[in-house]
């Protein structure tokens, strides 16, 4: 019944795929999960920080 296949559908990442990706990252880097969280948080925060600095260095100064 086709409906069953709709139930397997999601636009999100495949659970098996992400498990394999995480294993690969941990094997290659040798970092713990906590270290990886810190690195990724820095990446996540760096985007808005860059935007704010871009604003202050270019537009706030020139009003």
């Amino acid at each position: 019944m086709p409906y069953n296949y709709l139930l397997h559908h999601s636009e999100s990442v495949d659970p098996e795929l992400i498990e394999a990706i995480i294993d690969k990252i941990m094997n290659v880097t040798g970092f713990s999960a906590f270290t990886m969280i810190m690195i990724l948080i820095i990446l996540m925060v760096s985007v808005p920080l860059f935007i704010i600095m871009f604003y202050f260095t270019n537009f706030k100064r020139n009003n």
Binding site: S10, A20, I21, M36, V47, P48
Partner: protein, 431 residues
Amino acid sequence: MIMKKLSNKNFFYGWLIVLSLFFTSFLTIGSRQGFGVFVKTWEDDWQVTTAAISFAASMGWLVNGFSQPLLGRLADLYGARIVIVISLTIMSISTALISLINSVFGLLILYGFITAFFSGGVSPATVGVIVSKWFVKKRGTAMAIVMSGGSVGSLVIVPFLSFSLIEFGWRYSWMILGVFSLLIGVPLMLLFVKNKPEELSMLPDGEIKANKKTLSEKQIIGPYFFSSWISSLKTKPMWNLSLSYFVCGITTGSISVHFIRWALSEDIGTGTAALAFGILSIINAIGVIFIGLLSDKFQRKNLLGIVYLVRGLAFASIIILPSNYAIWSFAIIGGASWLATVPLTASLTSDIYGLKNMGTLFGISSMSHQIGGAGAVIFFGWSFTKWGTYDYAFLLGVITLLFAGFVSLSLPEKSKSIRYIKETGVTNNAL
């Protein structure tokens, strides 16, 4: 050092808006893709099947599709900024609240309906309205940068959620993401994003007012700049764009669900598939910006056609090549064309139909994209069960992509797009 270099240049404010919208795409697409990280954990915690959890996800896919023309219409009527801010706020709260649920029913309500519906308010249908008002000549590049935020977001947020799940558990992971989005994403939107350059006494593309009228001031009216969006549905380009975007949905939706299953059916390990998918994501982020840059120099319909034909080649390689080569050719060729359709389709919509109804019209194209994706997932699964191979499903992908390529190439861009129409001097309310 970088900031010092950047501060020496005279940047147009529109680029700050592009960066802010890049971050919005980063948050929304990244967090929606992260859903898959928690499926196995929820199965164990709630003692439910994958099918029950996937039902919430598939409902989310469809609700998101149907919300886009609706929220796009609201963006056309009341301004995209307010729609994006409200949608992002509700999405963030809903994401944080997922940390409190104890059943699939809660997941269905919060993820399948609320988050999915309001993520339609932070989609290209609404974001594209703002970008198109701030940029005319560099519309393709600006749109591409915003869209690449989604690729970068999934490369950062999905691993973040995975590691956070290992370290803190799923409830804290959703809470952190929701609070982060609410406290950083929403204020950033409120502070920096404006609906149109006129609000800051500026002109699109940062052009300077002079005696001679600038491109943005010329008030060019395209032949399809209708006051009512319904009139657009009676024209060929709208169908060209929606049909080709429907095929885009077919091919991206099917791969997002069936790529790993195909790899396993061909005895390719999950580790190799993971690496290939990672390469696809990186090439995807670079490819979309490259195509965006090209689209400001060449005819957009030609690039859109080429992108679909290249993706068709990637699908064909899966059928023709041995699987251990096919996976890499698909990652590289397919990756280059994966997201590039979004800025091209959005830019063509605003070039041909103007800005008055852009949110509604691109929302309709996006809805067809989601319907195509949902249908393809069903077909791919059904065909694999029936024939024991994905070859026939991939063949359908090749045929539909050839169709989309030629449909895009047949768009009458030179006669209908404002990029190629000479100044008329007529005041145009639709622009």
